[in-house]
């Protein structure tokens, strides 16, 4: 699944969601003020360097010594204080609007658990468990349906950041944080972990798919299905046997089987995701095979071990995984 170039830029000034838009508006005001201050002060610096440059003939005499001026000090204290007051008032208002926003009853609830180096994503009220890709409904201005996220961590500190949707909020072990997003247009929005969390912090990527409510509902339905218990293909069946007999099941869950491991991502609908390894590679047969063969080749330091399978087992296993839509 390829994306057009425009979709892959995650500028904080291209918001598609309410919190990000509020932040961008405040940011623009601050930028304008800052530009004004810069122009004035830098202008004064440049002017004084040019205008008051010592000329050759003036060696040996000193200019008038000016020790200070109470009025001037008062003036250039008062103006910054006023600017700070204006900024602080605007800041306080937006902090409140974003952090104290009430959760409407129809809001989608998602729990994100940060792990080294992937995202566990659960929809507790909808019975959906997935990883690394978050699907949320687009919020109509008439009937608003924001998504409220509960953020937790299973190990070290992480940070959830999808710039076009909202500012970042940290996932901290032994602490529960909350944030919300409210996309107003459909699309796929990219983000990544924004708190250094160890070796592969750079490859803890996020994909958020905002889709119209009907499409979101279809996705939810599909995600709630159990996995196919009897794959038709014999190779896939053999792969399924391999999967259930080796240590895969101690880390991974495939709903409807004995695999109920919680340490690694839920694989029930693995093939419904665009990438693997939290964004480190596209979800294709070839990359999937390479990952299962030795995750360290794609993501050095990844906590999933190489499963020491021979080529035949590997092919069969991948055939099985490909049935997990």
């Amino acid at each position: 699944m390829t994306l057009q170039a425009a979709d892959t830029i995650s500028s904080i000034f291209a918001p598609v969601s309410t919190p990000a838009a509020k932040e961008a508006d405040l940011a623009k005001m601050v930028l304008v003020l800052s530009a004004a201050v810069f122009v004035v002060v830098a202008g004064l610096i440049a002017y004084s360097v040019v205008r008051f440059r010592g000329r050759a003939g003036e060696q040996g005499t000193e200019p008038p010594q000016v020790y200070g001026s109470a009025q001037v000090e008062a003036a250039w204290t008062a103006v910054p204080v006023i600017i700070v007051i204006v900024l602080v008032l605007a800041t306080g208002r937006v902090i409140h609007e974003i952090q104290a926003a009430p959760q409407p009853p129809n809001a989608v609830e998602v729990t994100v658990v940060g792990r080294q180096w992937w995202w566990e994503i659960r929809y507790p009220k909808l019975g959906v468990v997935t990883a690394n890709e978050l699907h949320i409904p687009v919020s109509d201005s008439g009937v608003r349906q924001p998504t409220f996220l509960t953020l937790e961590s299973a190990d070290v500190a992480h940070s959830f950041w999808v710039p076009r949707l909202a500012g970042k909020t940290d996932l901290i072990p032994n602490k529960t944080n909350r944030m919300w997003v409210e996309p107003h247009e459909a699309g796929t929005f990219l983000g990544q972990c924004a708190e250094y969390c160890g070796t592969q912090h750079a490859h803890m990527l996020l994909r958020v798919v905002a889709e119209p409510p009907e499409q979101f509902a279809r996705w939810v339905e599909q995600q709630r299905q159990m996995a196919d218990t009897a794959p038709a293909d014999s190779g896939a069946a053999a792969g399924r046997r391999t999967f259930l007999k080796t240590a895969c099941i101690s880390c991974h869950t495939v709903a409807g089987t004995v695999a109920t491991g919680r340490y690694g991502p839920d694989l029930t609908h693995l093939m419904s995701r665009a990438t693997i390894g939290a964004g480190v590679a596209p979800n294709t047969r070839d990359r999937l095979r390479a990952w299962v063969r030795n995750p360290d080749d794609l993501k050095h330091g990844a906590l999933m071990p190489a499963m020491q399978l021979d080529d035949e087992q590997l092919d069969q296993l991948v055939n099985y995984l490909l049935t997990l839509r």
């Binding site: 995650s10 940011a27 000329r55 000193e62 800041t91 944080n177 070796t199 750079a202």
Partner: protein
């Protein structure tokens, strides 16, 4: 009248001291000038090492999906780069300048506790070498890094034994505890000196501004570095004795580490930049040929910064999940600290205004600081606006901001100070020609490297990532940023060559080559071991101005 000559004994050894004698003299010295120079040389060595680490970082990030260094190595590089630049360059070089200048500026012979001074230097040295010896240890089990890779602020629980296996983090902790002792010892010494050893007539209101700022900074070190030392001890207890201070599995709090660290970390950045302001407050007046505008306001602003900076720390934690009230409080306090900081900038402009500016190398660097610090201050205010910070924190925007403070402002100010005081310390002038090459190359390189990083941050590039993806709009900014390194390296090479060459071949410096006004210029270049033959008596903040202008001394106006 005949002159009497004492007969010289035949076996008197009049040859120059040997290399070993000279080395021995420096190793056992307790003289503030020698220790000051040793601190500065130590720092310059680590400046180059930290610079090499930065160069490797920029090489890796010049292109997306690059493979110059591994993820592990990169994480070690940015950890060591930050730790080195703050603790083994910034703190010691400023301690060195304070060491060298304070007794001269206040008209006394040495610091209050000369042996403590030597202790502080050598323990700083030891701490730095201990930290770097981690590179020599074998990689830990389970792929743990030999050298620290937890980031220069070592957030918990990444630093706990579960997630940081091996001893790398222990080197970081113990190295910093030890250099922390050095900073605290130095602070006790310098602050005591300023309060108890000023020469006759030098009331607090007649101290040079660099001395005033040093007094505030050393007091801040006592209150700010100590929390770091304490926190590191708690972390060490976790790692070595199984305590649970930051062990979230046992109920410990990761956020508590952040609070403790930033209670140190924020005042620390003011500890780093204020001495740079001190340098500017000496250099700008001399090269504008005018007294500093608003001396009492400058003192008040410095003290205000010192106090307010103790109350802003959680602006590093806006994304941690604090309450709206807490976030608002820290946004307010951070906005407040910008006011006295801005006032200082305006007073420097007021000093230049109506002056006769001489664009010698120290002044070129000082003027660059004014503009670059203006930018740094403005991006700082942007970061204080918490909702804006929620997008910008932990991104390359912050990296750009603090490099504008620590390189664009502090390092440029340090360069200015070196060009200004090198003649005093060595008796030779640095080359103006090489100085200008250094200035322009470094100015271009610095801005090429750090201006684009603001945009990378706003386009979604977080900090501390060993690579980035193509098609995220980040390539051009990272490439230009990396190209700037070449210019900076060239600039620093000019600087190093200038320092080395001028030591023997520079123009011989007079006592007072810049026609300045504070007491260090009243003695020879370099000063004798005892600083002054007769301890001076002063009546104003510019004793040499009073001497040079007996018809119009400063004490008519104070």
């Amino acid at each position: 009248m005949t002159t009497t000559q004492f007969p010289i004994a035949a076996d008197t050894d009049e040859s120059a001291p040997s290399v070993f004698d000279r080395l021995h003299e420096w190793v056992v010295t307790v003289d503030h000038k020698q220790l000051g120079i040793m601190y500065i040389l130590f720092s310059l060595v680590f400046l180059v090492i930290g610079g090499i680490e930065a160069t490797m970082i920029r090489l890796q990030l010049a292109l997306p999906d690059n493979h110059v260094v591994s993820a592990q190595a990169f994480n070690t590089l940015f950890t060591m780069h930050g730790t080195t630049m703050v603790f083994l360059v910034g703190m010691p070089i400023l301690a060195g300048f304070a060491n060298y200048l304070i007794p001269l500026q206040i008209g006394t012979r040495d610091l209050a506790f000369p042996r403590l001074n030597a202790f502080a230097f050598w323990i700083t040295c030891f701490g730095g070498l201990l930290l770097y010896s981690s590179f020599l240890t074998a990689p830990a089990l389970f792929g743990g890094a030999p050298a620290p890779d937890v980031g220069w602020f070592g957030y918990a629980p990444l630093t706990e034994p579960t997630y940081s296996r091996g001893n790398a983090t222990d080197y970081w902790i113990i190295g910093l505890i030890i250099t922390g002792f050095g900073s605290i010892a130095g602070a006790v010494n310098i602050a005591t000196t300023i309060l108890t050893m000023r020469t006759k007539g030098m009331t607090l209101g007649r101290m040079p501004l660099f001395t005033w700022i040093t007094l505030v900074v050393q007091s801040m070190i006592l209150v700010a570095v100590s929390p770091l030392t304490a926190s590191l001890i708690l972390l060490l207890l976790d790692r070595s004795l199984g305590a649970h201070f930051f062990d979230t599995q046992a109920g410990g709090s990761a956020v508590l580490w952040q609070h403790f660290f930033w209670v140190f970390g924020h005042p620390e950045v003011y500890v780093l930049i204020l001495p740079g302001f001190g340098f500017l407050s000496e250099i700008i007046p001399v090269f504008s040929r005018k007294v500093i505008f608003g001396y009492p306001v400058m003192v008040a602003a410095t003290v205000a910064i010192g106090f307010i900076s103790l109350g802003v720390w959680a602006h590093h934690m806006f994304s941690v999940g604090m309450s709206p009230a807490a976030n608002t409080f820290f946004a307010v306090s951070t906005g407040l600290v910008a006011v006295p900081t801005g006032i200082k900038l305006f007073n420097w402009i007021g000093t230049m205004w109506g002056g006769r500016i001489q664009l010698k190398t120290p002044m070129l660097f000082a003027i660059a600081v004014l503009v670059q610090f203006l930018i740094a201050g403005i991006t700082g205010v942007m970061l204080s606006v918490a909702p804006f910070d929620w997008q910008l924190t932990d991104t390359y925007f912050v990296v750009a901001h603090f490099h504008f403070v620590l390189v664009g402002s502090l390092l440029f100010a340090i360069f200015a100070a070196v060009y200004y005081w090198y003649p005093k310390a060595t008796g030779r002038m640095l080359s103006e020609r090489l100085g200008k090459w250094h200035f322009w190359l470094f100015l271009i390189g610095f801005n090429l490297t750090f201006i684009p990083q603001h945009f990378a941050g706003m386009l979604g590039m977080p900090r501390r990532v060993y690579t980035f993806l193509p098609e995220r709009g980040l390539e051009i900014w990272n490439l230009v940023s990396s190209l700037g390194v070449a210019f900076q390296v060239a600039g620093v090479a000019c600087f190093a060559w200038n320092l080395i060459r001028s030591y023997r071949r520079g123009v011989v410096a007079a006592n007072d080559p810049w026609d300045a006004w504070t007491l260090e210029w009243a003695t020879s270049s370099p000063p004798p071991a005892y600083n002054f033959a007769q301890l001076p008596v002063v009546r104003s903040a510019r004793p040499l101005w009073d001497l040079k202008h007996p018809e119009d001394p400063d004490w008519h106006y104070e």
